[in-house]
Symmetry: C2
Subunit: 253 residues, 2 copies
């Protein structure tokens, strides 16, 4: 597990906002923070955060491992910058036609997509969020989706957290499922074929009637890759319905 926000806040922020002034002496730098971040994101996209090592980044850049530390205080700060960079890919909901509901759905799907493009975002434990331009911008335009509906400020914040949290947790399931095969070298079918017989030996017949019935139905209806996406859309509809109830209450009460 990698942790964000463990470094010196001042140094982190300078990095995130790119406010380091050009030094006036010394040899020309071979690299830039930009190039390091781009390389690191590519590596993490391809192989996950576990496979992202300072040595590996350096190798990719044709440089000694320790050279990276001239540009970035530690791996934690690098990951902060990677994260903020990735958030810059999100498309704000402002131009989405339709009311709050369509805009919130757009926000959720943008987040869902982003986690699939950069699955390593799900491996970061953001104790203290990297306060970069893109994170702050994200918060701002996501809030605009629910502005002017009669919700309190605190409710607006809660609604955004709920919707983005749902996107994150659904994406986690989806991404894990997609990665399981690569990681274990075993397809879902192979895994189940190895698991089911042993499970049958150990399970009392009809000990779990509901679980067997529902589990079978669910896996048959949306077996494989469609399952998590369906769960995401299903949950999103319920959540938006629930938010609609709140908005109606506030409007009529």
């Amino acid at each position: 597990m990698e942790y964000s926000g463990t470094g010196d806040p001042k140094r982190s922020l300078e990095l995130l906002w790119g406010v380091q002034e050009r030094p006036r002496r010394g040899p020309k730098p071979k690299l830039t923070v930009e190039r390091i971040v781009t390389t690191a994101i590519d590596l993490a996209d391809a192989a996950g955060l576990d496979a992202l090592s300072m040595r590996r980044i350096a190798e990719e850049l044709g440089v000694a491992p320790m050279s990276i530390y001239t540009y970035v205080p530690s791996k934690a700060e690098l990951i902060d910058v990677m994260m903020d960079r990735a958030l810059g890919e999100l498309v704000p909901p402002d131009d989405v036609p339709g009311g709050w509901r369509a805009k919130l759905a757009h926000v959720a799907r943008q987040n869902w997509d982003l986690y699939h493009r950069h699955a390593w975002l799900l491996e970061i434990s953001a104790s203290r969020p990297p306060m970069g331009p893109n994170l702050i911008g994200k918060y701002e335009y996501e809030l605009r989706a629910v502005d002017g509906l009669g919700l309190t400020d605190v409710e607006m914040d809660s609604v955004i957290s709920l919707v983005t949290g749902h996107a994150q947790s659904s994406a986690r399931v989806s991404v894990n499922a997609a990665q399981a095969e690569r990681r274990t070298g075993m397809t879902d079918v192979e895994w189940w074929e190895a698991t089911a017989p042993v499970l049958d030996e150990v399970l009392q017949p009809d000990a779990y009637p509901l679980g067997s019935r529902v589990g079978t139905a669910a896996s048959q209806a949306y077996g494989g890759a469609i399952g998590p996406e369906h769960a995401f859309e299903f949950g999103l509809e319920r959540i938006l319905d629930g938010i609609a109830v709140l908005i109606t209450e506030r409007a009529s009460g």
Copy 2:
């Protein structure tokens, strides 16, 4: 990041269900899987999954590191067993008075509490779930909370995923916030005092009007430890409202 379900499924299941037959020869084992799992859970509770190493467990048990591998094929399987064991602490919703709504709320809060007691559960990437008695039991009794309401099997599954997913994602925020101080050696106040001035220098005034207003309101209303819990309860209410809409549809349609 630690991964579950990466080992041989057959061996994993034998471990989870405790069906290894007692060997008939050789020296008396010093340890049991039980003791190893208990020790590992205690260590993980205290210091997180990162600090849980085979060497550390062995030290705690007064044994050489490699001895653990007599009982457990690898760290991945050990974590599978730890996870299933932890799930055994959950209290089923059957005896909760009230209808589906009270029962689902109970399920959500049980999950929320569990993640706080065993924060390391959030660090496990469960690509293939450990099919132990407690995981299977959990699915069964959670489904009972929404049985007989006119929902399809697939909908029942989706509802449970939604509720437990919300508990997990809210707990993740809460746990991260609680751990941030220990991890960084810096309180929230100190962190913000170091962050805010640098941020002010770099931010255009009024560039983010909504974000500033709402962010301030949210952090003042539920500053510190209450924030995540409020977000959890808020989200739970919205989700249950949304599920109510679905149930009403199914009943009337």
